[in-house]
Symmetry: C2
């Protein structure tokens, strides 16, 4: 079965819906934690369910290198390999290999040359290979192989890349061979309105099971990011899920939902955790700060996560300062729960047609 | 309330009993996982309960340095600080500071001079200070400050040290000031039969709430280890718990129980886990070994731990090879469960008066 998106209610452009998959149904908007190497760092699947995670993302490039897609296939697919029975989305590997490719000659019509980040082995990834690996990983949703265009590229580069990504999408679609898996197309087009339109319309014409917006997680230039979302999403069909790739800052999620996005992913919650940071409704805090040394309150008083129900800032700070990995684990639980709870609250607001005031409230508190 | 040992059944010298504490009762023999810095590395308290851990050990030296005993006291004691409501035993810090003291002049009648392992700060630990810290940590069981005599010390050194440890035990007992906490004495005496007897008899005369046998975890010389246990335990009263310090190898636990030991502790299960090793009934295995690459079976088919119920050797190997800390966490759960299950099986054997054949069966399988 292919995934099916069910649109239940709209509040202006914000959408409340459900995505039905072979591994269960989850409500949208939803934040997807990233489990790069077939695990969301430090956590077991039961903990992902406990934080309300409806779907997780895993990385094709990393699993291709370790343990290798054939091992995962022999294990019975990614769900069985990591003992996670909920929905899984795999990326295409494009984002990683483009950041490993050393110069533009490494990017050809056929695919991308790059060196393994583990041992420098020369590797070559093509749209067909990306799909073949994902077919073997047997995730619920596979992603098209695309070029994530560097921010602020020239019009000419962006146009050529966007056209090539369309050809790659077609090649991947033709090579696709897993009837239990869905395939999402990806809209690129850089920061150029006409190229976003072109990319979105041509991608939709090919007919995918869902659509992603790529190349928008570019950092501080929020107005550019938000414009790129607008310039892409207006051409996407209402009856398919929309996934904004690599976006995990709370305010960006809030904006994305406002524009009609259904799914988000980002390594931010686990990466922040490893560096001792926690999300709160008022912004991020660093638990290593001396001011938390005798703070015997939870990270957030009203948070329902395992960490906040059991541990204090002083204890988490102690673990971090002592370099005990449990500290990162406890912060990962909280940070993932924070983003998922944010999408839960957004869903409630959409259902109640109060998304605008909800958004305003989040903005009024959240700083940084 | 002080801890109370209840002897329920004996099979030759092996004892099945219960230790009643202010934080609940646990059955003995029992293996205690080590939570050095107020956490058993990578695990939360719920996981310790799930593996059947009746009591955990925490390290006074480490908590003295980080976060400091006053922070723990302000948090409401160690149980509240780490959100663990089961029994906790704290060591005296002696083992750590003796290994940090650079030469014998650093060890005086008053106490021990040494440098912090964190920043080299000069520190001085006395019997009174060790007890004061433990009183503040508010563990269920505090340990006397002793010198863990280096193996194969001369008779003269061992005699002097053993006598000083007795004076330190007296000083600690006099300084002790926490009516909700118990204090265990420690038998030293090195590898000399008469000094073990002397140390045991004099320690028992002082009247502690339980007794430990120290200085026996000396490595490969098993015959010496086992003789030191015999030479100590025969002088200990039947109505108090007996704790064999630092012992965690499966066969040593089996021997200790045979001789009448009730409690064991060791960092081995978590340390082995961090290096990719797992206990099995047939000996230790290293999961990084290539032969486990496609082994889609659990660490042990009949193990009831969370790890074995959910994950395969191939998956754990993948996590370890990819340096994902979840691998160490999953192995820690299994390794701790393995030792606690070993003591569970030993308890059953004692109850059934079949300890001798149980011991033989363990020996016939376990290699290394």
């Amino acid at each position: 079965m292919k995934v099916e998106y069910e649109l239940i209610h709209k509040d202006n452009n914000a959408r409340y819906g459900k995505l039905h998959t072979n591994h269960g149904t989850f409500e949208t908007p939803m934040f997807m934690p990233v489990g790069t190497l077939a695990n969301v760092k430090t956590l077991v699947p039961d903990e992902l369910k406990e934080v309300g995670s409806g779907i997780i993302l895993s990385n094709t490039y990393h699993l291709w290198l370790r343990p290798g897609e054939d091992i995962v296939k022999k294990a019975g697919g990614l769900h069985k390999f990591m003992d996670y029975d909920g929905p899984i989305l795999t990326d295409s590997g494009g984002f990683q290999v483009f950041s490993l490719a050393k110069n533009k000659n490494d990017i050809t019509e056929e695919g991308v040359k790059f060196k393994s980040h583990i041992d420098g082995t020369k590797l070559f990834l093509t749209p067909e290979k990306s799909i073949e690996i994902q077919n073997k990983l047997d995730s619920d949703i596979a992603m098209s192989f695309d070029e994530c265009i560097p921010p602020f590229s020239t019009y000419e580069y962006t146009k050529n890349s966007t056209e090539r990504t369309l050809r790659w999408a077609k090649r991947g679609k033709d090579a696709f061979n897993n009837e239990n898996q869905s395939l999402f197309g990806i809209v690129q087009g850089g920061a150029f309105e006409d190229l976003r339109k072109y990319s979105a319309e041509e991608t939709v014409k090919m007919g995918f099971d869902g659509y992603a917006i790529g190349g928008v997680a570019i950092g501080e230039e929020k107005d550019v990011t938000y414009r790129m979302i607008d310039d892409s999403i207006r051409y996407l069909p209402e009856d398919k899920a929309r996934y904004l790739m690599g976006v995990g800052e709370p305010l960006d999620i809030i904006e994305g939902i406002d524009k009609g996005v259904d799914m988000f992913d980002c390594v931010l919650p686990t990466r922040l955790a490893r560096h001792g940071n926690a999300f709160t409704a008022y912004g991020k805090i660093n638990l290593k700060n001396l001011k938390f040394k005798e703070d015997f309150t939870p990270l957030e008083d009203d948070c329902d996560c395992y960490t906040c129900k059991h541990f204090t800032k002083a204890y988490i700070r102690h673990l971090l300062v002592s370099k005990e990995s449990l500290g990162g684990r406890l912060l990962s639980i909280h940070n993932i729960r924070f983003l998922i709870r944010l999408t839960e609250k957004a869903r409630d607001a959409i259902k109640n047609d109060t998304y605008a005031s909800f958004k305003e409230e989040i903005y009024s508190k959240y700083k940084n």
